[in-house]
């Protein structure tokens, strides 16, 4: 619905300012950028220029610092990957690679079992 109402406006603007639509639709990467582009339809991939900010590529802490040993005893290291609520922070937020996240998760679970890390809430 929103796409239908939005689509005509950039098309009408196009002859006068071909690249101006980028700044106009920049704050909405999915619909604003896609609809303004015209070529990529609604729901299509967002245009490259549509996004004002760029995210830094997250890298795996264990790969970059070459930490081979993920141990349940090292609760300070594990604590960095546990949220305030006691949950294991997902990979998409921390950037840890898949094999390391696997080891990390099992280490955190072992640490929880021996009361080094909390199951829920912060360590009291």
């Amino acid at each position: 619905m929103t796409d239908e109402t939005k689509a005509p406006a950039p098309v009408a603007d196009r002859p006068s300012r071909p690249f101006g639509e980028r700044s106009g639709g920049g704050d909405r990467p999915r619909f604003g950028g896609g609809g303004g582009g015209g070529r990529s339809g609604p729901g299509g991939p967002p245009r490259e220029g549509g996004r004002k900010f760029f995210r830094r590529k997250k890298v795996c802490k264990f790969c970059t610092e070459k930490i081979a040993d993920i141990n349940y005893k090292d609760y300070r290291l594990l604590g960095q990957f546990v949220a305030e609520s006691g949950k294991i922070v997902p990979r998409r937020l921390t950037g840890v690679c898949s094999p390391h996240q696997h080891r990390l998760a099992s280490a955190i679970k072992q640490a929880r079992n021996i009361a080094l890390l909390p199951f829920a809430g912060r360590a009291s």
Binding site: Y72, K73, Q110, I114, A115, F119
Partner: protein, 136 residues
Amino acid sequence: MNRTYELMFIVRPDMADEDLDKLISTLETTVTSASGSIKSVERMGKRRLAYMVRKFREGVYILLTIEGAGSVVHELERRLRVTEPVIKFITVRIDEEQKRLEKIKKLRDAKKKVSAQPAAAEEAPAAPAQETPATA
């Protein structure tokens, strides 16, 4: 089949040191009588627990490294379960992990040597070349 295990357990914080010594020595005899061996005993000291265990908020952590078959662990865990001052324990098999770490270390050392050799070869001719003008 010998394997290496790590046994971490928590005893209640109000336990006397002598009692703890006695407990550890009895555990050692249990291990040796089950044809295992204790490699190390580490007292990690008193630490606040992350959550309440048997109405205790802190506990004394002890880490044992044991070598032996699975029956040793079985006997040891049974013993710990009936020992009243022990409030929590965990056994982790570590030999496979150690093997993996050694492999990684070997790989890294090999890589280091490869990268170090060309650098050393470059430095060797460069150093005499600098020295010759100084001596002459």
